[in-house]
Symmetry: C2
Subunit: 278 residues, 2 copies
C-alpha cells in the first residue's frame, strides 16, 4: 500500500492510498478517514460504496462525512467503483453506465470483463484485509452504506454478509437491478443472460430468496431524475414488508440524485450506524 | 442573470449563476446558497472569496458551509477569482499565481490587464447589486471571509468598507502582499511598480495607514507549506496589536493549506459571523 496523500481534517487524517490488487489485477485507489482517537484504540469501520462514474474522490471531496466521523469515532473507507488502467476493458461504446466507473460490485463471469472486474471480491475480501492490516480498525464492528449503484452494492453486500455488517444504509439505491435498465445492462454484461445468476446481486431478489437483516435505512430524493426508471424504492419497501425487515425509507421532497442530497443526510446515516456500532 | 444549476441541499438551495459583467466585460459565474427561510424574510449575507486557481466551484463542492448556513440562516455567496473567456489575458507564462484564477481582488491599472481585471469593483459593487436584486438578502447585514488570496481580498475589502461588513475572517490569508512573492508579482502586474498604489491592497499596510475594524478571526494551518514564504500571519498580528484591533489568530497544528483545513473550521467562522450579523 502506498500513500498518495494525507491531510489533517476535523482532527483526524484523510488519506488516499493505492495498492496492487491481485483480485482485479490492477492498481486500485481508495480513501480512508481515520478520526482522532486514543493511542492504541481500534475503531469501527463504515464502508461507503460510490455510484456510477465515481471514484473514491467524489465522496471524499463532497460527502461531508468527516465532522460526524470525527465526533462519532468512525473510520470511513471509500473504494473505487471499478478496476482501471491499461488492459481493463470499458463499455464498447464508452457509455457511463458499464465498464470503467461502473463495476456494479459483482465478480464478472463474462469475457472480456471476467479478468479484471472482480469488485465483489475486492470490496468484501481483499480491501478489508488491507484495511485491517494498515489502519486502527476494529473489523468486528463494520457498517456499509452507498449511493445509487453503490447503494445497490451496500444492500447486496450487507444482506449477503449479514454477520459481518451490523448496519446497512443507502442513498438513492438501485434496489432491483434485475428489473431496471442500468442493472439489466450491467448484469447481462458482467454475468451473462441467465437471470438466475443475477439474483445474488439484486437486493429485492435476495430478500425474496431469504436474506435478512434487522433494519435498513434508505434516503431517496423525491425529485431524483432516476427515481421511477432506475431506483424504484417501492420494490424494496414491498420486499421488506413481506420479509419483516424494518425499512426506514425517507422520501425527501425536492432532493435530486447529487452529492448535495447525499451530504445533507450523511450525518443522519452515520449516527444511525454509530448507534449500532458503538 | 442566468441559472446554471440549482440543487436542494440542507433544506435550502445551492445555486450557480452566470451574468454579463459590465465591470469585467466578461460573463461571470458565481454560486449562492440560500438557506431555508420564512416566506418574505431577508437574510444576512456572507461573502466567501476564494484563493489562487479556484473558481466558485471549489468552496461550493468542498467548503462544507451549507449545514451551518442552514442552521444559522445565512446566505453564502462565492464569486469567481478572475475574469475568464476569450480576450482575457493570462499570465504570459501561464503561471497559476497571476492572471486567470488569480485576480487578487484589485482593479488593474496596467495594460493589458486593466481592461478586464476589475475584481475589486466586481466584488464590491456589481455583484452585490446582483445579489440584492435577485436573492432574499438583507444587504444591511453582510460579512466577508476568504482563503489565501481570498483571505487577502476579505481583509482588504473588510478593512476598506468597514461600514458595510459587520465581521471579517480568513483562512490562511495573504496578509501583506506587498512583502511576499505572490503579492509582489500580482501587484506589480496589475498595479505597476509604484508601491504606494499597493498599500490599499495590503491588509497590513491598510492597518498601518489607519484602517480599523473591531475584530478579525484568522485560522492558519501550522503545517501550511506557504506559511513562512507567502502568508506571514505574524505581520498581521503585529499590525493589529499596534492598532488595537482584536485579532483572534489560531494556529492549527498539523493543518495544511487545503480545503480539508478550511472545511474543518468553516462552522466556527460562520458562527462567529452569525453572532455579529443576527
Amino acid at each position: 500500500m502506498e500513500k498518495v496523500s494525507a491531510n489533517r481534517s476535523f482532527g483526524g487524517t484523510q488519506g488516499v492510498y493505492t495498492h496492487k490488487s491481485s483480485v482485479t489485477g490492477t492498481d486500485m485507489t481508495f480513501s480512508v478517514f481515520v478520526p482522532p482517537h486514543a493511542e492504541g484504540a481500534t475503531l469501527p469501520v463504515v464502508w461507503y460504496l460510490s455510484g456510477l462514474t465515481c471514484t473514491h474522490a467524489n465522496v471524499t471531496d463532497k460527502g461531508e462525512f468527516r465532522a460526524a466521523c470525527a465526533e462519532l469515532g468512525l473510520i470511513f473507507v471509500a473504494p473505487d467503483t471499478s478496476p482501471r488502467g491499461e488492459g481493463v476493458p470499458d463499455d464498447p461504446a464508452g457509455a457511463y453506465d458499464f465498464g470503467l466507473g461502473a463495476g456494479f460490485y459483482v465478480d464478472a463471469t463474462e469475457a472480456p470483463y471476467a479478468e479484471h472486474y472482480k469488485m465483489w471480491s475486492y470490496v468484501t475480501e481483499e480491501l478489508p484485509a488491507v484495511i485491517a492490516a494498515n489502519f486502527p480498525a476494529d473489523m468486528e464492528r463494520q457498517a456499509i452504506m452507498g449511493h445509487s449503484m453503490g447503494g445497490h452494492g451496500a444492500l447486496t453486500i450487507g444482506l449477503t454478509l449479514a454477520d459481518r455488517f451490523r448496519s446497512v444504509s443507502a442513498f438513492a439505491p438501485i434496489v432491483a437491478p434485475g428489473r431496471v435498465p442500468w442493472g439489466e445492462k450491467a448484469l447481462t454484461g458482467y454475468l451473462g443472460t441467465d437471470t438466475a445468476a443475477w439474483r445474488r446481486h439484486d437486493a429485492v431478489a435476495l430478500i425474496e430468496d431469504g436474506a435478512r437483516v434487522p433494519a435498513l435505512l434508505v434516503d431517496q430524493g423525491a425529485a431524483d431524475q432516476f427515481l421511477e426508471g432506475q431506483l424504484r424504492p417501492e420494490l424494496l419497501a414491498a420486499a421488506c414488508s413481506e420479509a419483516g425487515i424494518t425499512l426506514t425509507l425517507r422520501m425527501q421532497p425536492g432532493y435530486d440524485h447529487s452529492y448535495y442530497f447525499i451530504a445533507t443526510f450523511m450525518e443522519d446515516h452515520l449516527r444511525w450506524h454509530a448507534a449500532r456500532l458503538t
